[in-house]
């Protein structure tokens, strides 16, 4: 029967062309939507890498201008002690501008054993960063005072960079990057990759440097972990304390929780837009498919009557029409899958292959379900056609 139906479809390829094109376009749009959705979900289920609740970001501009590094250090150390003295402050760390969930980026390439890794995010942090964000350390340790006196500069890398450089092997104690002896970087720890771009977007590999005495000139943010009960009154007090100390500096306090919300919001907008567009498209396709199948049944009443006369049951007529639609869908999906599979093969958009494959499988299942649902009712209508009436009409 399959061969027979395939022959029937093949011989009607001109009539079926538009319907197949419609199914193909639906598949491609659904592939894009599902890939994006699965990409977001895949990132969402990964650990955040930090505990961002009760962490505030204080933006400062470095108002204290001096060429004397000791004076600069003293100025900021005093600021640190002043903030730390506040009862609701648990920990703090001066950091580079690219804090979690901020729009700032500082990235570059890294060459390791001849292999170039693009988009490595560089972070400058202090020893308190680990406790301020409660970073998950997977191997080794976070920075401490000893790192100020080591022969080679200590760095901490995240799990993504470790995978890209050392794979499953040991990273702690090894050098990273193809640098000369003087500039070698020694890995002292590996941390869980921090989802700095929010819940849904892949953060990419990261390398953490320990701030040195000259870093205060450009470290523009302070991460502060506060007690869970810290409220607006405390925020006001913190602001006032800082404003009194840094008289000519603009100070802005943000909460990481809110920043994450904003970041997530901007990430999901394209998905929402795409989903709305695809919803309209799916409704359009469903109605089109339904209409075409309905039209086909009316056009083929004579054939349906004949089939009933020569031995087809109502159910077999119904399942024939559904199967024909499914064969058409299969042909469209084969063509669509050929295009879709190029994305992981050619590594378009740098997404993992399993994200594309899952998107493709979900799109295939959805198209089949859509076609099945749209053809069931017309199929049942066909089964209800009275053969004597249908044959007489012809």
């Amino acid at each position: 029967m399959f061969k027979h139906l395939f022959k029937l479809i093949w011989n009607k390829k001109k009539q079926n062309f538009l319907l197949m094109t419609e199914m193909l376009v639906s598949f491609l749009v659904l592939f894009a939507v599902f890939t994006l959705m699965f990409y977001y979900y895949d990132n969402y289920k990964k650990p955040m890498g930090i505990k961002y609740q009760d962490v505030w970001v204080i933006n400062i501009n470095n108002s204290y201008q001096t060429k004397n590094t000791d004076s600069l250090n003293l100025y900021y150390e005093t600021l640190r002690q002043t903030i730390k003295a506040l009862p609701q402050v648990k920990e703090l760390s001066f950091v580079s501008g690219n804090t979690p969930f901020s729009q700032q980026i500082n990235n570059g390439g890294l060459t390791f054993k001849g292999k170039h890794i693009n988009g490595v995010n560089n972070f400058t942090t202090e020893d308190g960063y680990k406790d301020a964000l409660q970073v998950d350390v997977l191997e080794g340790r976070w920075f401490n005072k000893q790192d100020a006196t080591t022969k080679y500069r200590s760095v901490v890398i995240d799990a993504d960079l470790k995978e890209a450089t050392f794979g499953n092997g040991q990273a702690v104690g090894k050098f990273i990057g193809d640098y000369d002896d003087k500039n070698k970087l020694r890995v002292v720890g590996v941390i869980q990759t921090i989802k700095r771009n929010g819940d849904y977007v892949k953060p990419g590999p990261g390398i953490y440097y320990r701030a040195d005495t000259g870093s205060f000139r450009w470290l523009s943010k302070i991460l502060v972990r506060v007690s869970p009960g810290a409220d607006a009154a405390f925020e006001g007090k913190l602001y006032k304390t800082m404003a009194n100390y840094m008289k000519s500096s603009n100070i802005e306090i943000e909460h990481l929780t809110n920043k994450l919300k904003d970041t997530n919001y901007f990430a999901v907008i394209p998905m929402i837009v795409l989903s709305i567009v695809s919803c309209f498209l799916i409704i359009n396709v469903a109605l089109g498919l339904f209409g075409v199948l309905w039209y086909n049944i009316n056009k083929r009443r004579g054939e349906i009557g004949l089939r009933r006369a020569i031995g087809a049951t109502g159910n077999s007529v119904s399942s024939q029409l559904v199967t024909e639609s499914m064969i058409l869908a299969t042909l469209s999906l084969i063509i669509g899958s050929f295009f879709a599979i190029q994305f992981p093969l050619l590594n378009v958009f740098d997404l993992a292959a399993h994200v594309y494959i899952t998107g493709m499988l979900l799109a295939i299942i959805f198209v089949y379900l859509l076609v099945l649902v749209c053809s069931l009712y017309p199929g049942r209508q066909a089964a209800a056609i009275y053969p004597a009436v249908a044959l007489h009409e012809e």
Partner: protein, 221 residues
């Protein structure tokens, strides 16, 4: 072979009731070639549809090949039609998107047969109607007479005991009509197939064993 007893068929709409067949009783013997005649709208096709189990009577009983058909379900009816009955229609009812061979194979698709068997039986049926050289053609590439011969091949491919023909020569000129009639007569004579044919043509009807006339839904001869 076919026994119709007190068949009555009423078509009902919201406002009117039309009596299409009024207490028709008919016996068709095995191997008989029977023709049914009557003016348009007298119930000939309705009677044929009821005989072919394509329609159900409002009253009366039908027995085909000693089998009562009233209580058969959709599946049993379909199987019965497939194995026992062959249909020929005035407008051929060929599927234009299928080649001649595929059209002839159609009834066998609803049976447990292999592709090889189907091809063999269909080729054999086409040889009987003289169209073995047209297997790859599409119906639209054939003349009316050839199309009807394809329809006959499709009707006989499953080797049914009974063929029901609804004005098989109605759309053909007399020469073509005679050709088709000869094929049906040969089938009846050589294979012993029981044939019931509805026709408007007296000449064709006189070539059959028996003629039944209907008028306003009742049997008058």
């Amino acid at each position: 072979m076919i026994r119709l007893q007190n068949i009555e068929k009423v078509y009902r709409t919201d406002t009117i009731e039309t009596l299409a067949l009024n207490s028709v009783s008919l016996d068709v013997a095995k191997g008989e070639f029977l023709s049914i005649m009557g003016p348009s709208g007298c119930g000939k096709s309705t009677l044929l549809n009821i005989m072919g189990l394509l329609d159900v009577p409002s009253k009366g009983s039908i027995k085909i090949a000693d089998k009562a058909t009233e209580n058969l379900n959709d599946k049993q009816l379909a199987q019965f039609r497939n194995k026992t009955l062959g249909f020929i229609f005035q407008s051929y009812h060929l599927i234009n998107d299928l080649q001649v061979l595929d059209n002839v194979e159609l009834p066998l698709l609803y049976r447990d047969t292999t592709a090889k068997e189907r091809k063999m039986l269909a080729t054999e049926a086409l040889e009987k109607v003289g169209l073995a050289n047209r297997v790859k053609h599409f119906p639209t590439q054939l003349s009316g007479g050839q199309r009807q011969r394809v329809a006959i091949a499709r009707a006989i491919v499953g080797r049914p005991d009974i063929i029901l023909a609804d004005e098989p020569t109605g759309n053909l000129d007399s020469a073509m009509g005679n050709e088709i009639m000869d094929i049906l007569i040969n089938l009846n004579r050589n294979e012993g197939t029981t044939i019931v044919m509805v026709t408007h043509d007296e000449n064709m009807a006189h070539k059959t064993h028996r003629l039944v006339r209907l008028f306003d839904g009742s049997q008058v001869q």
